[in-house]
């Protein structure tokens, strides 16, 4: 959050070299030399591509043919593109259900792992390990687990008397399946929550206990407010990540077409990939990218704004 704190200050760029003293001028040169790798990278891999994709988004562009300026046409087409809305709705599903569910579950796991239980460090490793399994491997593994006939999940459910759904080919169940896969790999979020829980002052919890506060009251009135900045951080990174959800959905369809079944896993980035790299509609895909950027920006700002009321910063 350094960026936010700094953004209040006044900046002027470029600094006027003519107004610098000799010492400052030398420092400036040395500084810029050290920054050289990033400066080149920023120009080549951030600034230029941003401008280029903005230009593409106002054009019809099929990579090999020359660019044809069409103004806002791509954006207008987006509004009437059913698949665009479908992909947006699918993504919002993940963001609105997957992210809060994952946050809640990882907070709960972190609370459990923070209890004094024998073999605590062993449990921490077990909870964390799935998060470092490579995405492609974990997605294929879950395809195998969610296999409707021979998968272990439906077998387990059958033991409990529940007939498990057809996870991969039923459009109502493909997204819950993906959320389950995501929750299996939430170890990173758990670790961040755990470090936050360890920072909650014990004196505060003990004082509350002496005053007769129950476990639940302590959790609700002390722990949860104290880790609220971490919740905000996890929420924002979770939302940004979910809007860009791609690799899992790409692998999850197996040998079927993108979005299988029935476009239920056609997420925003998947549809963008399809447009840009399979159908070579680079201009249209660029317009989608910029709309995504604006959506992410608005969501982030909205979360920051709303969170002011719910976030407690100690000290």
């Amino acid at each position: 959050m350094d960026a936010l704190r700094m953004s209040g200050r006044k900046f002027s760029w470029p600094p006027k070299i003519s107004k610098m003293g000799p010492r400052q001028r030398v420092n400036f040169r040395i500084g810029m030399l050290f920054l050289l790798p990033w400066t080149i990278g920023f120009l080549a891999f951030t600034l230029y591509p941003m401008i280029a994709s903005l230009v593409y988004s106002f054009s019809i562009y099929h990579s090999k043919q020359p660019l044809e300026w069409v103004g806002l046409q791509n954006y207008a087409t987006l509004l009437t593109d059913d698949l665009f809305w479908k992909s947006l709705a699918n993504t919002v599903y993940l963001v609105a259900i997957g992210v809060p569910l994952t946050l809640l579950a990882s907070f709960f796991c972190a609370v459990l792992l923070n209890l004094k239980v024998r073999g605590q460090s062993f449990y921490r490793v077990i909870y964390f390990l799935p998060s470092i399994v490579p995405t492609v491997a974990s997605t294929i593994l879950w395809l195998w687990i969610l296999n409707p006939n021979t998968g272990i999940l439906n077998t387990l459910l059958a033991h409990l008397g529940i007939s498990g759904p057809n996870w991969m080919s039923n459009p109502d169940w493909s997204k819950p399946g993906l959320i389950l896969l995501g929750m299996w790999g939430m170890g990173g979020t758990i670790v961040i929550y755990l470090s936050g829980l360890q920072d909650v002052p014990i004196s505060l919890l003990e004082a509350a206990e002496l005053d007769g506060a129950s476990w639940w009251q302590r959790l609700w009135n002390i722990t949860i407010p104290m880790v609220s900045p971490i919740t905000l951080f996890n929420l924002i990174t979770g939302v940004i990540g979910m809007f860009q959800y791609f690799a899992q959905a790409y692998v999850f369809r197996g040998s079927h077409g993108l979005g299988y079944p029935l476009n239920s896993t056609l997420f925003y980035s998947v549809y963008l990939y399809q447009n840009g790299f399979l159908w070579l509609k680079m201009g249209y895909a660029s317009a989608m990218a910029w709309v995504l950027f604006i959506i992410i920006l608005i969501c982030t700002l909205l979360l920051l704004k709303v969170s002011d009321r719910f976030t407690y910063y100690a000290g």
Partner: protein
Amino acid sequence: MTINIPAQYPRLRTETDEESRRRVRIRKVRNFFKSLFSHTAINIIGLFFLMPFLWMVVTAFKSDQDVFHTPPRWLPYDNLRVEVNGQQLPLYNVITPEGVKQLAAVKIVEGIGTFVDPANSNQTFQYDIQQGATIIAEPIMHVSFRWQNFIDAMERGSRPGIGVSFWVYFKNSLVVAFFSIVGTLVSNTPVAYAFARLKFPGRDILFVLILSTMMLPIQVTIIPIYLFFNDILHWGNSFLPLIIPTFFANAYDVFLLRQFFRTIPEEMCDAARVDGASEWQIFTQIVLPLSVPVLATVTVFTFLWAWNDFTGPLLFLTSPSNFTMALGLQDFQSQRTMIWNQLMAASVVFTVPIIVAFFFAQKTFIQGIKLTGSKE
């Protein structure tokens, strides 16, 4: 100093023995249930994390016959085999007119099996495998870990007839990861040093700029980058588009390294400055040697990222001889033939380097997550 305790303060009333015993008993019962609940919860949720992991490993060791066995079994089973005339043949329990016999199957064609008695291998018998609903010949299975799956999985390609094996994918992944690590270390450290320890006009606004690039979704830049590498530099289907960008620093690693560099005492750098050391000398001879822990973190995370990356290889690598493990595994899986035991074996091989890295650098892992995680 005397403390005036109000006489009516309830705790001060002396408890009778029975009351105190009762209180202790209630607390004990409550603690018991609390600990019962927490142990149960931590174990049940632990199973959710552990079981898929075990299932991956177990499936990797299963024989083809056992993969689709219903209900699924938690140990890998394979045919019990005997050697008959120099051949390994599967043993069957066969119901014969003379009772149940253990016979080795030579071949099974159209429901009729040809068997030999392992003890007397000159004579062959023919039996129907199944008569109506009763199974006449049933294979004898035993617990057996099929290591051959790993060899089979790694020596095949992701699709038939491409002439490259998973070993090539494995090597490609290593090459990409290695050069990504080199690039990341070489390019991010000087940038982070400048932001941490150099004072020059315009530094802070540049730092805000670099942090703000974290917000930019990759989708916005990837199309022009793709066209740039493919159509202008003609680097398509090579590792260069994956490796070269790592040589130009990125916001996450700059931030991580800068946070660490700032903890190195400034007096050390100042002392060197007084002695006439240049900034480059201070950077390479004082700051870098003191930063081994954070350099390890960056190395581990870059390895993790490069090893895991799917989108980059998907966009840029087109011929199978250049596939990385991630791309190869996806390609293998998408080829309709669902050979789950080999798929899982390849997945295990893909995952093992990361698990090994984790157990060697457990602290580094957790530290890195915390450093990038709690950056408010």
